[in-house]
Symmetry: C2
Subunit: 407 residues, 2 copies
């Protein structure tokens, strides 16, 4: 009976950390890189902008030539060229001259400002202005955003839209990213059947873990294949063994069978090494982690809510780190609206609905109550040295949204 000695949550995490695997990298097209993790430092090939750039449609001029112009005092210039977006001009501007210029086009030699088209009128090659501009006005200077050779992004960051823009501007069409982990999810339980409006309600239970845990794996940046097995020891053992060779990570749920203890845990213990089984936490106490063929196997509960909490506490962080993200939960402070008893020596993860100020925990939260996870948006964490929370106490909260694959 492995469960008779519980491991502290802290020790369990330390043991798991010793077996943290990090994925290799692969080169992909930048346009496919959204929500992947960068596996190389990005040094810019270019200045950005690559030249002094007009940020308005208008006329490149010498700013000093415009001084004094107003609605009442107009000034005239000779237009000597035009520069469309994507073009450039070899001409140099001298006092009294102007060049028609488009947004995004390079400022011609001699000019130091752009006067917006709406403050001008043009007839033939004569420009009349009725406003003044200051030196540098409407110009984005060369290298204002990025300098050539500059380290613009360090590896191990999650690539969001803005990072993609920066990488593009640095000149990269392809980049190295960490490979996505391939995860095998093995849902065990002879009592489990597919969702249907007609289920044998004398003995069968709908298999919800195949949906929740598979989606949680996706929400951690990984790919997943799912299989459902009945509680047959050899079948379970063979599947775990094969999956540990074919996948980067194996996650199981359930696996209880009469007089045999937990078939999954026994199987992992036979074909590999069990790091721990049974952790001083609630919900989720029966969680285990083993190593089979150098692959980590998380053995989660069959109880849906326990399995979700175990996933959040162990598997999610492990998956993030496999992809090069050194992830830790963002703990925020909220005021507890209710009293919450707890037990010394055990870490509690209390399903809770939190707004920007308060946290009210869900009252009906047996480890099978999926509704409690839908009604909650956060966990209150009560650590092992704490006997409970009084109404009005400030508590540690982790918001579910903050543990998604987006930060």
């Amino acid at each position: 009976m492995f469960l008779s000695k519980l491991t502290s949550l802290k020790d369990a995490i330390l043991k798991l950390n010793n077996y943290q695997i990090i994925m290799g990298s692969e080169k992909i097209n930048l346009k496919d890189s959204y929500m992947r993790v960068l596996a190389e430092d990005i040094k810019s090939f270019h200045n950005s902008p690559p030249f002094d750039k007009s940020v308005m449609d208008g006329y490149a001029v010498i700013a000093e030539d415009t001084f004094g112009a107003s609605n009442n005092v107009h000034k005239n210039f000779k237009i000597i060229d035009k520069i469309g977006a994507g073009d450039f001009s070899d001409k140099e501007i001298h006092s009294g001259e102007a060049i028609l210029i488009a947004t995004g086009a390079p400022i011609p030699k001699g000019a130091n400002a752009v006067i917006m088209a709406e403050f001008t009128s043009q007839e033939g090659n004569v420009l009349t202005i009725h406003s003044q501009v200051t030196p540098g006005e409407n110009i984005s200077p060369m290298a204002e955003d990025i300098k050539k050779g500059q380290l613009v992004l360090e590896k191990n960051i999650l690539i969001k839209p803005q990072e993609m823009g920066l990488i593009a501007s640095a000149g990269f069409l392809e980049i190295e990213v960490y490979k996505k982990p391939k995860v095998k999810l093995i849902v065990t339980g002879s009592e489990l059947v597919e969702p249907s409006s007609e289920v044998d309600t004398r003995s069968k239970i709908i298999n919800s873990n195949q949906y929740t845990i598979a989606a949680m794996i996706k929400s951690s940046g990984a790919d997943v294949d799912v299989i459902h097995l009945s509680d047959d020891y050899n079948t379970v053992k063979d599947h775990i063994n094969q999956a540990s060779k074919d996948y980067d990570l194996v996650i199981t749920t359930g696996g209880t069978a009469i007089s045999k203890g937990d078939v999954v845990v026994d199987a992992v213990d036979e074909i590999g090494e069990l790091l721990f089984h049974g952790v001083a936490m609630r919900p989720g106490k029966p969680v285990g982690v083993g190593i089979v063929n150098n692959t980590v196997v998380f053995t989660l509960s069959g109880q849906p809510v326990a399995a979700m909490a175990q996933f959040d506490i162990f598997a999610r962080i492990y998956l993030f780190r496999m992809q090069g993200l050194d992830y830790n939960y963002n703990i925020v402070k909220r005021k507890s609206m209710l009293k919450i008893p707890s037990t010394l020596g055990r870490v509690d993860f209390i399903r809770t609905y939190s707004d920007n100020t308060n946290a009210r925990h869900i009252l009906n939260r047996g480890s099978g109550i999926i509704r409690s996870m839908v009604e909650a948006n956060s966990y209150i964490i009560i650590d092992e040295n704490n006997e409970g929370i009084n109404k009005g106490d400030m508590v540690d909260v982790v918001l579910f949204d903050s543990i998604n694959w987006n930060g």
Copy 2:
């Protein structure tokens, strides 16, 4: 010149709201529903659990028979049957009898508790217990999570892992979800070229918007096709016209050309109706929205940072609502670490790095500075009636992570 009269941000949003389109729905397999929006109310076909369920491996007994049992006082029972997961027993328990039972199996008639296997020993059909249990112990009562016929989820919610578990338990293998919007992104600009280590730095600029805005569209739950066009009026017009027929939404960036104003805005004005062009906000003033063939067209700036802010403020919310989510930004309060000047009559979206307490805005934030979006994780919003922020003032902040497609 459309820009000469700016629309207030509030009026711009009101005008856009009049043209809010909501997608139709489609039936999909539950396992494909992660991060889709539910388009039907879910009423459960079943009780969940469907029967009084054992939550431990052990023995179903009459609790009262165990009273007084302890490590010193053992009690014996006759084992009359066994129930594996997925099975059931027709036998009824009477005083002094027990049935071996697996986690997930239905409690047999007559029993009202389960004693865990670890507090028992078995020899032949004789069970010896050395602990007592209370009525209901280790039993999850029928319908504890969900009652048959109960409305468990209302439509228009984003489907996350826990919702998938609840829908499965309610008996649904397939569900109605809102269709994903198909968006055409038209990036205009003759100066734009693909990312490369070798770019003609006299006149060409790397096209970063095709990456950032495309990824932002994906981050809003939609699918996107991208095309890059040069600043040719007829080409731009024809593509917008065709895209407005083939897609659910059209988004453009850039489109400046000498002496023609904005080719994109002019094109939208010719083939459709321009709702507004030019909004009293910074960055992002030149944003426009038009209707072409009953399809909304967002005309965003070519400047990368302006385009990102315009997307966040207009297109993101529009896309969320297209998919049935009545989305509004979650505004949190932070203390500004710096003074920020502003201008009456204009709403500012100041790129900022915020932690759980403070907000420090990014100082170099010209509308071309993509780095400023990478360094920031939030906007400080300064409304139009505010002349600026003093150091230490509490300010309104929207965290970028809170505007992703996750809740």
